[in-house]
């Protein structure tokens, strides 16, 4: 895999997209949830692209639709409450939303694997870690008998830097530490050789040093295998460390997207700006962290206009009535976009 050289900012963003084959393209994905409070548009027109060897971060508050987006991609939304009502999920040119359950089972785990939030419960407590990896392999790889599969399991554990994997495959989850469990979950995810790993806040329940180790591990794995990683988080620090591109989600919509550096240096959407303002930074002296006014919106009966308008310090009448289109942000990055009416003004001003 070739790494693009970093010369000009524009080339850097192009380089990122050119770093590999286009694996996944999500277009206008929409998922609705029936709740007792009414219809919730949990995912409302989300689009993004993911290339091999790339890490895309999805950031947003709880309930912003991050997890629902990836669950919709794999069609494992909680039924019957959730319905995928529109859009396309193109995985290497095939629309996954047109596939039936049997075909999807061959995609899940084998092509697109997932690492879940809580390593404490991601492993089945009554089986050894070796048994669980072998079980996952048996599901997807019909080749090779017991011995070969055990060998593959040991290899997978070695890949996630678990010491003495030959002995560890006989360990039960309760005999392992939290960090080691999450590594084992990682081994499970990569064991079938997927092209994409979806990591849904995998480091939330780990302590900070283990977190850093784990992120390094993910990056190394990516370098070794050319995996694409879709990383869901609410931690800007992790996004800065790990990702090249970033989506910011709010109330089921992508409000801002672009190269991480461009978004950090020049956040265009007031929500992104507010989120960045509420992060502790080591390099600036902040007396008091800024909080975003108001509550995350109740997802039923959303305003017809910009969903952030009720909490936005700049909102005007148009913001409250009409949802803003996605507009290009005028900065160094060509693919930095945001949905905010104020961008139009800045466009006009220039």
């Amino acid at each position: 895999m070739t790494r693009p050289s970093r010369s000009t900012p524009l080339e850097e963003t192009r380089g990122a997209s050119a770093s590999g084959e286009l694996l996944l393209e999500v277009r206008d994905l929409r998922t609705h949830l029936d709740t007792k409070n009414g219809l919730v548009r949990a995912v409302d027109g989300v689009s993004f692209r993911l290339h091999s060897g790339e890490t895309l971060g999805i950031i947003g508050e709880s309930g912003s639709g991050k997890s629902m987006t990836v669950l919709s991609m794999l069609q494992v939304v909680p039924k019957p409450a959730a319905r995928i009502v529109g859009g396309e999920v193109l995985y290497r040119g095939q629309n996954l939303l047109e596939k039936n359950e049997r075909e999807m089972r061959r995609i899940r785990g084998r092509e697109i694997a997932m690492i879940l939030q809580d390593p404490q419960t991601s492993l089945n407590p009554v089986f050894t870690i070796g048994n669980q990896i072998v079980e996952a392999l048996r599901l997807h790889r019909r080749d090779g008998g017991g011995k070969a599969l055990v060998h593959r399991a040991v290899e997978a554990l070695r890949q996630v830097r678990i010491a003495a994997p030959e002995e560890r495959i006989r360990s039960y989850p309760h005999e392992m530490s939290g960090g080691m469990k999450q590594r084992a979950v990682g081994a499970l995810a990569i064991s079938c050789g997927p092209r994409i790993i979806v990591a849904d806040e995998p480091t939330t329940s780990l302590d900070v040093t283990i977190q850093a180790q784990y992120l390094r591990l993910l990056r190394d794995l990516q370098r070794e295998t050319g995996l694409a990683i879709l990383f869901i988080t609410h931690d800007f620090g992790i996004v800065a460390k790990l990702c090249r591109h970033l989506l910011v989600m709010y109330a089921g919509r992508v409000v801002e997207a672009g190269p991480v550096r461009a978004v950090f240096n020049n956040p265009a959407h007031p929500y992104t700006r507010a989120l960045l303002g509420s992060v502790v930074r080591a390099d600036t002296k902040a007396e008091r962290l800024e909080a975003i006014a108001g509550q995350p919106p109740a997802l039923w009966g959303l305003p017809s206009g910009c969903r952030f308008a009720p909490r936005c310090p700049h909102a005007d009448d148009r913001c409250r009535k009409e949802y803003p289109p996605q507009l290009r942000v005028r900065d160094e990055a060509s693919d930095h976009v945001a949905s905010c009416w104020r961008l139009e003004e800045s466009h006009g001003n220039r």
Binding site: V76, A113, M114, L116, D118, P125, V126, E135, V185, L188
Partner: protein, 279 residues
Amino acid sequence: MKLSRLRRYPLLPIAVLLAILFIPALFAEWLAPHDPYQSHLRNRLQPPVFWGGTWDFVLGTDRLGRCVLSRIMHGAQYALAISAVGIFVGAAIGTLLGLVAGYARGWTDIVVMRLVDISLALPSILLALAFAAAWGPSFEAVIIVVAFVLWAYFARQIRAEVLSIRERDFVARARVAGGSHARIVLLHILPNVVNTVVVMATLQVGVVILLEAALSFLGIGVPRPTPAWGLLVADGRWLVVSAWWISFFPGVAILLAVLSVNLLGDWLRDRLDPELIEV
């Protein structure tokens, strides 16, 4: 140290009690001093050996002169066979329905749980009466009644556990790793409830022995002249004052059997809890 281990896992006393139950049951043909069905009319109502009887009939004889000890030993076979088969059938049906109800939820869950409610509301004795009235008392009828009474307890307990297990991430992980629903239920959830099933099944042995004894006592269980424990107690009930041993010793057998399997169940419950194994 040894004593404290013994207190935590009192396996030895349980083993002794179980041996008292199992060995006579399994080897009744060889160990029993007499044929349990044969009458010794000249030795009717013999008292047990320490009450003035002879070593020939250690626990005395009933009013037909049959050896009480031999009858109790053969009766253990029936108690164990009915417990084993009845509990196996009931546990299998209940576990399966509990798994399906807890995992699928929705309508399936509602239907299964209402059936459970109905089953729990039916008095087991009444049910047995209905069976006995329809097909006559028989060994098979008792097993059907046992299974019918027990399945609901298993279904209710397993469903409750599945409801909590299905929310854990390893089930979601199995799903995003491409597992089918059947595979998830059988390979990922079932192994997590097996402990419960085993412990419950063991604890039910005592219940079933008592149920079987009650049914036999009422004459709607295993038919005469089978030496089922309940029947033995029933046989002596008119002679309790003069020949108390006819009812007393089968009663002691029931007591010991129920006590020992309940202790075993408690011990198993402590032993099989995966989080406690290491402690």
